[in-house]
Symmetry: C3
């Protein structure tokens, strides 16, 4: 019986980890479809290599910072013999699950800095973000490190800062860190040379859509498996995710006037925003939360990339940064009993926690990417950008056969 | 212990819902690959928006018609405190699972009416189908609404009408509703102007195949998780699905002479047909059922689109309508103990139920799409069709960068 | 309680089977992206049809050879009433799971013989491999058929030959069988006519990457669900798979100089190598094992296809054959307690078993493909190769609309 329970928890977290791992494929293809043809290969390699670097950094350093656990004991001990390690490798599959969250940080940033970032500094930044910067916020919110949850939130603001699946810890942190990286890096060569041009046309809507689908599918693991045990699973989380996604799609459709990029990112906007409160909000509250997120994404993507000239290629700052921030706040609104939620949250805690998390992301992003810029030089030269990241960094284009045949490379 | 059982059921239904949700991505990419290039974006947006509309319509109306449950109580009540709601949000994840079934109806229709349907009327039809028409058949068959299962089937025809995972309730209903829509809408501009031309060439076999793979993968959730609890799970359903898929592939390969479109749809034909009886048939019966379905699809796709001039772009009427109908009947043949099945079914019940379900689908489709046609005007003008649904409705093509560079748009 | 346990095992194996089934989509798209445009359709049809043929061959013959079980009893008996069949169809879902492994053999070979193999002989070889050749090694290693595990390994070499998830049974066997097929078939027309040309450029890096992602995602089911019951699940297997994948990616990135093909295959190389010992190695050992596998793949792919003129299109011999062989050995190194592993393995057993398995694969491949060559003629004529497999075998190209419009076909 006990073994069945333990085994079921391992199985449960495993499926969660696999689903969130699949989201990384989604990050890759969303970027492939959104960037121009000559940066597609770079998008693919970045996401896969970032995932590998994140795994190593989080294994050796990050997980220890967040949860105080290291893995340098024998395999027998790891699978349950030693103190601090759950039976049947439960702690290991928990690591796998949380590692896929950690690796989302560079995957989020990747879409913002696309087409003009050099490869090695970007890899170094990944290691710094996942090894150090992210575990600090992760441990603070989810493991009560530094006692901030008790001293600041619980005592002074009336409740723990609630972020069930990471609207702030993962998305706002990642999105604001991306803003820092984008500000440091500057826009792509020629991006704002011609006033009135609204943007660079994406290379492929089908690939963009495939990325969105993979993200949406995996997101149900991201949210529901954040319960971390079968005993704690709640169907409410699944339903709220569904409703927020639907709200995001419909709002983006209307505000974005049938644009496929907005519709497919609108689904993600809703899902970003529902993470924090998916275990305490009412489904109708989630629908509204998602719809507002879809609206935020479309409006601020246009403002940021056109009015404010922030060259955020995939719109990761509005998507993850702003919709994540909104999600942290929404949890303090629709999570209250007054609005049909389960309660146990306060708007004050959510307000302070969300702003702190976002600000920390921006600062972390500025520091990390400034550092790698100073050490390695972060930006591809104009000539390299003209050739494109694929040929410059990877010596191959996305469709080599065609390009060889037509003499393009 | 009880909590583990409840949690396991929530987990089980969640995975089913995620898998069937992934099938909607499959619907999207199957259509992307089968339509022409200038309708790819529309295919993608349609499926994602239909899913969102379906979610909202089924949440507020459809689920109440089928199962008498509404969600307008507090979140605490929804997760198990109130009457009619299972513990740990079990009822909510059941909603999610069944919502992905309901949303399959417009996704099925979508492939039949591709390339020439206007967007708003199609969205309105989705709401009507998922909010009203589908819940009526769903509740009648799966929730014994109106007592038809007792009064007609059990008493008069010897057994309940058996449709384990929806050959009739989902696929035949959807496929015959699609036929109604197609008949109302008429063929694409110029489709039958040149006698002897067998059809419009699909844009991309890889995308078509990707759609088929996503559908096949998710289908195992569609079928096995229809048990709706871990205690009721049966490996027989998985094996029968596997065998029917194999039968469909091989028959379509042979009858369709190695054609990739037929092979990849043949897998789906087998899976459509096995839904109804997957819990009662023998694996060899399922292999035969799937093979016959593969044959039916190839033959009737050619008959319908070439001989009878029904412009069913993806062949959804033969695939879902006819193979679904065949699946309802096959359950009454191979489900009997005489042919190695588990029994508890009668051919009379299956025959009457399958015909009634299909006829209801056709009538529902005709009514709904006639209604939206009268209100909004269902059909794109010839000029709009010439420009293509992508530019007309979405102001963008599937590969904007290339089209801008080559001056195509 | 007992029913929950049984149902959970069925659920667990089902998810494993679905994940490995998804890997077959991965095989298809990896080949689509790596071959030239005029062989893409053939890649897709081959994998799907091979899967169907494998299912039928394994159902009627292969599973009986491996495990002595046939399915020609009534459906009631199959679901648990009869001797040898687990409750709730457990044995059937076990068949589904193991069938997806068996079907990996022709899927592995497929990538090696791409672009010049005729279709019917290749299908016949699939039936022979999955119906006869593979079940012999599968049953010997995993079901102690012929008593070889006792008489040779346990008694003489100190421990059973350990191959948890099939580095040898599946990957080395398949990879070496592919080498046999490639040697029999010969290189593609013109492949080595121009000295100094390093290879044929792949058609599409995004499709290649999609294949890799689907394989990586499904691989966690391939490895973890090899435990075959919830009670036996181990989070160590998941973590070791993760670490080996990361090691493979990073090594291939460095050795392969940022090449996207190498990076995406490097992930697979690590996963191939970790299969055997994923339940006994330490995560750090798995990282090293994966990194060495990534190195092996890049080096031997170049040696084999350029220096040794073995026209292995996808590099399946280095990937599955050599990295699989290395995985069998690595289990005997990093699985020992001395290197942090759980123990219970000996290098002698792993050495002998790995070599025997690989040699058996090569011999089986040579025999099977020689046989079908003699009976049917295995190789497409030069003229057929010039037209390409798609038009020759399937009468259609990968992008029919574009090819019709531009007059290419």
């Amino acid at each position: 019986m006990e073994q069945l329970q333990q085994g079921s928890d391992v199985f449960f977290l495993l499926m969660g980890a696999i689903l969130v791992f699949a989201m990384h494929g989604g990050f890759a293809f969303l970027e492939v479809g959104t960037v121009r043809h000559f940066s597609q290969v770079n998008a693919l390699v970045k996401i896969m290599v970032d995932f590998a670097i994140s795994t190593v950094a989080y294994f050796f350093i990050g997980f220890w910072i967040s949860y105080g656990i290291t893995f340098l004991v024998s395999a027998s001990a790891l699978t349950g013999g030693a103190e601090g390690f759950g039976p049947q490798g439960l702690t290991l599959v928990k690591f796998f699950f949380l590692c896929t969250f950690a690796a989302a940080i560079p995957a989020i940033v990747s879409g913002g800095i696309a087409e003009r970032a050099r490869f090695v500094p970007q890899c170094a930044a990944t290691a710094l973000l996942v090894g150090f910067a992210y575990p600090l916020i992760e441990g603070t919110v989810w493991n009560n490190n530094f006692g901030l949850q008790d001293t600041l939130f619980e005592s002074m603001l009336g409740a723990n800062f609630h972020d069930f699946a990471g609207s702030i810890v993962v998305h706002a942190f990642g999105g604001w860190a991306a803003l820092g990286a984008i500000l440091r890096l500057g826009p792509r060569r020629g991006r704002y040379d011609h006033p009135g041009v609204s943007g660079t046309p994406p290379s492929s809507i089908p690939w963009l859509a495939m990325g969105s689908w993979m993200l949406c599918i995996g997101w149900f693991g991201f949210n529901v498996m954040s319960a971390q045990s079968v005993a704690a699973i709640s169907g409410l989380v699944a339903m709220n995710s569904l409703m927020a996604m639907a709200g995001g799609i419909l709002a983006a459709l209307i505000v974005g006037r049938n644009d496929p990029g907005f519709v497919h990112n609108g689904a993600l906007a809703g899902l970003v925003a529902v993470c924090a409160g998916s275990d305490v909000m009412h489904p109708v509250g989630s629908l509204v939360t998602g719809a507002i997120a879809g609206f935020i994404f479309v409006q601020f993507f246009q403002l940021a990339t056109q009015r404010w000239k922030i060259d955020d290629v995939l719109g990761v700052w509005p998507l993850h940064g702003l919709c994540g921030l909104w999600g942290g706040l929404a949890c303090g609104i629709f999570g209250t009993e007054a609005l049909g939620g389960i309660g146990g949250v306060t708007f004050a805690s959510q307000f302070v926690g969300s702003l702190l998390g976002s600000a920390y992301g921006l600062v972390a992003g500025l520091i990390v990417y400034t550092l790698v810029d100073l050490i390695f030089g972060f930006r591809m030269s104009d000539e390299e950008q003209r050739r494109g990241a694929d040929l410059t960094i990877h010596n191959i284009s996305a469709n080599p056969e065609l390009d060889v045949r037509t003499g393009r490379i």
